[in-house]
Amino acid sequence: MITTDLTMALPEIFLACAATTLLLFGAFRGEQGASFISALSVAVLAIAFGLIFLGNRPEGVAFGGLFVVDAYGDYMKLVVLVAAGFGILMTQRFIEREGMDRFEIPVLMVLATLGMLMMISANDLMSLYVGLELQSLSLYVIAAIRRENLKSSEAGLKYFVLGALSSGMLLYGSSMVYGFTGATDFAVIGENLSVALSTGGVPEIGLIVGLVFICAAIAFKISAVPFHMWTPDVYEGAPTPVTAFFASAPKVAGITLFARVLSDPFGSLVGEWQQIIVFVALASMILGSLAAIKQTNIKRLMAYSSIGNIGYALVGLAAGTQAGIEGLLIYMTIYIFMNMGTFACILSMRQKGTMVENIEDLKGLSKTSPLMAFALTVFMFSMAGIPPLAGFFGKYVVFAAAVDAGLTTLAVIGVLTSVIGAFYYLRIIKVMYFDEPTASFDKPIGGEMTLVLTVSSVFIVFFILFSSPIMDGAALAASALFAG
Amino acid sequence: MAELWEGYALPTIIIVAQIMAIVGPLLIAVAYLTLAERKVIGAMQLRKGPNVVGPFGLLQPFADAVKLMMKETIMPSGANRIVFIMAPMLTFILSLVAWAVIPFGEGLVVSDINVGILYLFAISSLGVYGVIMAGWASNSKYPFIGALRSAAQMVSYEVSMGLVIITVLMCVGSLNLSDIVMAQKGDYGLLNWYAFPLLPMFVIFFISILAETNRSPFDLPEGESEIVAGFMVEYSSMSFALFFLGEYANMILMSAMAAILFMGGWLPPFDIAPFNWIPGPIWFSLKIAFVLFCFLWVRATFPRFRYDQLMRLGWKVFLPFTLFWVLLTAGVLVGFDLLPAAH
């Protein structure tokens, strides 16, 4: 019994043990160990990736229903691990240059990743909460890691205070759901609800309020409008590679969790939550595209861009169908690569040994470093959704699912906002190609950056050619979510 | 009317009588503990100690008490009045309420609750509030430094104390104090007391209660040579007397806790003829007196710790060691199948 449970949670257990070992190792090794621990952390994530991808774990629930293993979770875990691996890879060089190389950073990132995997596998309101807390707590610390820097401390504090508030909302909502359904287990909640609804009952208002609170809390974690206020400040204040990490892996984990919570226990309340998701998706898309226009700091711009992207992903969730979830999965996969690639470019924006982060500083990049300019162009075009790049397919699948589900207005507004969004993505391309260069960036950008840049741009450009494994994986994952 | 008498009035009277039966002797014990302290330390330093008031100085504590009560209560002008007055009262009350769960003999206990040891631990962890409130409310530097020292010290040593208690609890399988005592009853008499199988834990527990009661060599909160009298600088008269009473009553309480956890409570050292004629409460008092003697002995022997050494000892020595010992005990209990049966 317990052996099966442990086998099913093997990747998580491995990550937990590895993180504590790395921590001990770092503590004994002292300050010099940071880069070594960083490399080890990437290796650890790679092994976890292998355990999920190759390991033949039994599917089903473990630990008395607290933990679930299915194709849906596995797919998203792989995406999260890739994102986290890229994140750690990009961090090391940066923290060395900035003189803040502390071995705790990669260890905390591994722990945050562990939290994300636990969120994805959560099958109970309680395990949802502990996973979410593990992830958030690690992220609060990483955001504030540059403690002598006012902006970083502010970012950490803001993130922490608002995050604590959202955790409170989650708990409040969970307690209400527990009170009205008598269970915290997703399967039991779903069963109780469908039994109650099939006997002609209407959902209790208290249950709906609880659901709304849970939605609000998760929307906060994925920074969907109207719970996005913290995003620009935190993204701007946190060290850039940390921002890259924030914008990718936690979002994937959060939205995965969101989809699981809404379709698993509350699947029979689709009419109730659909309107919430439609509103949140609309607001995120509109705000993400409009507010980004006047940004001059590229990290803030990416913050609004990530808000917008979450909006598009939520369109898939709003559809409430299997095709919608499939779209969501594909969208998030592509988003990770676009995001990581863009941040690799941002991280390479160094002039005379210091970071610059204004859009102005990109002037004439095509002349000073044409390859990087090309890569950034690819990412921007992809974000804008221009075919045949990957970003187009991401948007296409979610909008198609929304139209199929009868949410034509939502899809139309989505297309309109992505046109508006294209404006500021194209503006960056314009700055790079048509403005005169003022100063060139430091070279070389480093092996890790080159790797991340190459992998992401190859993925984005050639997605059209080898999309079928990802499409198939997503389809399998989505059907797993709807089978249960 | 009869119902009122039987249901409410009579139990109340009984409880009040029980409380009186504990508090009265306790206060006298506190009074004579102060005398014992001066006598014992005097003897160790080849002095006579107080010997003028009454035969052998036996009336000295009462003379001290009368003196303290006659003095004027001084309230510093910048003090926070309510908190300032509440602090000594809190210290004193806390040192008394804990006695509710202490078993003096088999069945001789006011309230035999299931989680007795946790109650004791909780009350002893509250003791810090008296000190910290006094230090803050005095609105003066030395008391404040004393309060901060005390807060950090007590919180630090509580951790290892908790782990020590956990070790004992694992051997007993119950949180009830009477059960803890009875679990130490066995064929080998004295050797069954946890002080022997868990000797290292007993030593750590003893050192931790020195720190928990702010006694020498951990009396930094009041360290008179550097911060005059710490949190008690501004206190005088009755409020000072309450602190004094509280501190000594706490010492007795902690000694009683040590006697229960490690020295078989009211059990005689050997369950044979001359020993088991003597009633349990007397054995219990003797054990408490022994631990108290060790308190005084330590005070007469060791110099005061430096603050960083104090913290180092608590966090870097006791905490890892007790943690290790908890694991070891658990391992032995499981490995040799010695786990206590469910009560």
């Binding site: 039994v195 208290g206 | 309060a147 807060a151």
Partner: protein
């Protein structure tokens, strides 16, 4: 039963009053002290419910440790309450509105509870308090049924600890630390040098 009810109302009333004082007291230290009072009374309520283990743990952990450190910090900070309250009026309206909405929601929920079909609710078996006392009951599920949550909470606390150390530990230059091992390992030869001094000539 009358006494129980009376005690309940005393604990409950003091908890609420103390909670109110926490947010209205002008002096932050008083606020913390009232918070402690509230914790204490909450522990009393737990005892009344027969959850004596939780009550004691609440006192040990929250009152005995967390609140002490909290008080420690609040006492050391020189908080200007007047300044902190400047925004109070500005946010009173919006805060009040949100509070009102929540209140209305709660009332709606409470009124709907009355009509709830009881058969749907509370399907989880709870062992009766008489069968097994709650310390044992908690122990029986904590390391078996909920071991996953227990371990996960352990990880969360580990992260909190790492975070606290990372964000506060400063390596200061030029601090001389006591290394006890070095002190103990010092031998007489390296500590003192004995010289023969011939009389009358000085060193």
């Amino acid at each position: 039963m009358i006494i129980q009810a009376l005690v309940f109302y005393v604990f409950a009333a003091v908890t609420i009053a103390a909670g109110l004082m926490v947010i209205t007291a002008r002096n932050p230290v008083h606020s913390v002290l009232f918070l402690i009072l509230a914790f204490f009374n909450a522990a009393g309520l737990f005892v009344l419910m027969g959850a004596e283990f939780l009550a004691m743990i609440l006192v040990v952990v929250y009152v005995g440790a967390v609140a002490v450190l909290f008080l420690f910090v609040v006492m050391m900070l020189d908080i200007n309450v007047e300044k902190a309250r400047q925004g109070f009026k500005k946010y009173l309206f919006i805060g009040g509105a949100i509070g009102l909405v929540l209140l209305v929601e709660l009332v709606l929920i409470l009124s709907s509870v009355v009509s709830t079909d009881v058969s749907v609710v509370a399907s989880v078996p709870i062992p009766a308090i008489d069968d097994v006392h709650n310390t044992r009951a908690l122990g029986q599920v904590l390391y078996t049924k909920y071991v996953y949550l227990f371990e996960a909470s352990g990880m969360i606390l580990l992260v909190a600890m790492i975070g606290a150390i990372v964000l506060t530990l400063r390596k200061r230059e030029g601090v001389r630390r006591q290394v006890i091992a070095d002190q103990v390992n010092r031998s007489r030869e390296e500590a003192v040098e004995i010289k023969k001094v011939s009389s009358g000539s000085g060193i």
